[in-house]
Amino acid sequence: MNGAQDLGGMHGFGPVVREADEPLFHAPWERRAFGVTLAMGATGSWTLDASRHARESLPPAEYLAASYYEIWAKGLERLVVAAGLVGADELAAGRALRPGARLARVLSAEAVPAALARGGPTDRETAAPPRFAVGDRVRTRVINPVGHTRLPRYARGKTGEIVLHHGAHVFPDTNAHGKGEAPQHLYTVRFAGRELWGEGADPTLSVSIDAWESYLDAA
């Protein structure tokens, strides 16, 4: 979706601000927002792609005004409601009004190290041969899906070169919406800076994105 999360190439945000002591968390609630988001993710009630989509679905003005973990917390609220695990009335009340649903998994403290070590690999087997090979010229499609996508606006309709092939990976555009993993070949595509930003761009610049096969046509 063309949401506020798609920031590449925007102007007006000012310089990159670095904090003196760079705290990982700025307040106790940020710690909890982080931990509870990961713990709920471990229940398998939704995919990582769905959680990204929940965050980027915040209205743009709200997304841009929110702190990072505020976006996570609001995204988690949307996820638990959409999954039918918590009622909007319970969020409004600030307490549980009904017993919980039965979940496939609940993460225990003892299981945390193994769960983190396992992670969530997204590479998958596919019978489909890759359409492209390293060195091929490709053009990204011009698409504007209302749902989740990982093709940023600045890299749509641009010609570049395949520099890496990662095998097949879970396709976020379907997986975020419960439409299956539908794995596709994933490539790193490198664009000249001038292809993306025009003649005024740094002539030494190149930018790559990781692009699923259906984002690409032969150029």
């Binding site: 798609d6 310089p15 973990y69 609220e77 638990v80 993460l107 997204t122 994105i209």
Partner: protein, 218 residues
């Protein structure tokens, strides 16, 4: 008094949703609902937080880089399959499932960003700093990386090409900075002290031996 405080708070944080609680209370309520319903265990949340506050951080990545500087076979392995190379040092898991290492040279400088969210190689670098997740960095790293680098105090020769890697999938990138001059006598441990976090994102360079920590130690 209570109402007055409440109003002030909403003024400060009033980014819509003014009918709801301020974020601190909102997160607390969310956690307690999820605990009451039996979906999460507070001790697991504590363990998740503790892992990234105390165990996983950029010293992991620094050890990978220092080894790549000193062990040509490991460097080759890292270039061929960074996931396996990094896993061989015990750094695996969430947000590092699919790793690619990119190597800085005098001709080419690599910079990593996630314009769409905050993708970052947790097993080797820990959680990202706030600036990495911020709009200014995500907006400008892909369009004006030299301008961004200047804000980090890094000026590269005009002849050094800049390659920006936008992490739009589940592949995570680790920059292997150039080994500083005058480090022949250092062992892997001494070398790893020179590998800053920013040098593994590409917003910094490895520290020269004897240079002060502080800024560059990030």
């Amino acid at each position: 008094m209570h109402d007055h405080d409440h109003d002030d708070h909403e003024h400060d944080h009033g980014h819509g949703h003014s009918h709801l609680e301020p974020i601190e209370a909102r997160v607390k309520a969310l956690e307690s609902i999820l605990v009451e319903k039996g979906y999460v265990e507070p001790a697991a949340i504590d363990a998740l937080i503790d892992t990234y506050e105390t165990e996983v951080g950029p010293r992991n990545g620094a050890r990978v880089v220092a080894r790549a500087w000193t062990d040509p076979a490991f460097r080759d392995a890292l270039a061929a399959d960074a996931t396996a190379g990094i896993a061989s040092m015990g750094f695996v898991g969430r947000q590092g499932e699919h790793m690619v290492a990119v190597f800085n040279t005098p001709d080419e400088h690599h910079l990593v960003v996630c314009t769409l969210c905050s993708c970052y190689p947790w097993p080797v670098l820990g959680l990202p700093p706030t600036w990495y997740k911020s709009a200014p960095y995500r907006a400008r790293a892909v369009m004006d990386p030299r301008g961004v680098l200047a804000e980090f105090g890094v000026t590269l020769p005009e002849t050094t090409a800049i390659r920006v890697w936008d992490s739009t999938a589940e592949v995570r990138y680790l920059v292997v900075p150039m080994r500083p001059e005058g480090t022949d006598g250092l062992d892997v441990e001494g070398l790893s002290d020179l590998v800053t976090r920013d040098s593994m994102i590409g917003t910094g360079l490895a520290r020269a031996p004897g240079a002060a920590r502080g800024e560059g130690a990030r």
